[in-house]
Symmetry: C2
DNA sequence: CGGCAATCTTTTGCATACAAACAAACTCCG
DNA sequence: CGGAGTTTGTTTGTATGCAAAAGATTGCCG
């Protein structure tokens, strides 16, 4: 007789990832209510890489073309990024940080790191590093 | 002179969680295209706990009331769950698995476990257990 | 018993996310 | 040069997710 395998939802990687993500998003929005995690990631990449085409920016932040368009539109509405046509390639839309966007990112950078810290608070330093290293191997 | 702290997006826990989740969702939808991860989690909980009020089902799967309503509506449209008014408490809506829902979950259970396995494929057994244990402490 | 707080469900609004389809622009190769 | 194939951006449709508000019902306490 075959014993049917048991499916323990609480130990499935996908479910655990979702719950940890929920807690992280909650900590983030409490600490930085002005933007979402995704918007903050886009600001961080723009600060790091400088002006980028919208598609390239999406790839650099793991957002598909449809999603990054929405994110950029909202950031532009908030005045945190600006878009301009690329002179060389007329398909391209160049996205860049505005002054307000640079200021917001600079002012919130430390808080962003603190949020990562709070998310990882139950773990000690060695465990945190281990966790990040294991997760990075799953990407 | 204070050196400004650096924000390495690729090592922030929130960003890494999002990317790992992306990979997992992609593996899931390739292997079980009939339902989403969230829908599968709801089916699993119903199989485990039996008929539940919609709110209780939501809490048991980490979905807020608005979200679980949408998920249940779609599962009902697919004929995988059925809803009926609770006789004792007229506020409540009882959600239960249909025959089709039970069958689908039974038939896909092993595949669900295989997807978790594939998501964790880059890690050995000890690393997998370590990862899950660390993540569970962050919930 | 009567009122009030808590619970359950629904609705609305906003923000990711992805798939698929499309048009415009570009590249590259014959 | 010219056309095939690729890249870029947009739109549409579907599915999570959360916050907030509203309406119905229930439970409890004075």
């Amino acid at each position: 007789m075959e014993k049917p395998p048991s499916y323990v939802l609480d130990e499935q990687i996908g479910y655990v990832l979702r719950r940890v993500t929920q807690r992280h998003l909650s900590l983030f929005s409490a600490a930085i209510p002005e933007v979402t995690t995704t918007q903050f990631a886009v600001l961080a990449r723009l600060a790091e890489l400088g002006p980028q085409s919208q598609n390239h920016l999406g790839r650099a932040t793991a957002l598909d073309a449809a999603t990054v368009k929405g994110v950029v539109d909202r950031l532009a509405r908030f005045g945190l990024v600006a878009t301009s046509p690329d002179t060389g390639d007329r398909r391209r839309l160049t996205v860049s940080l505005t002054e307000a966007g640079q200021t917001l990112f600079r002012n919130r950078l430390a808080e962003g790191l603190a949020i990562s810290d709070r998310t990882l608070a139950p773990l000690d330093a060695a465990e945190r590093e281990m966790l990040i290293r294991l997760l990075l191997r799953l990407v």
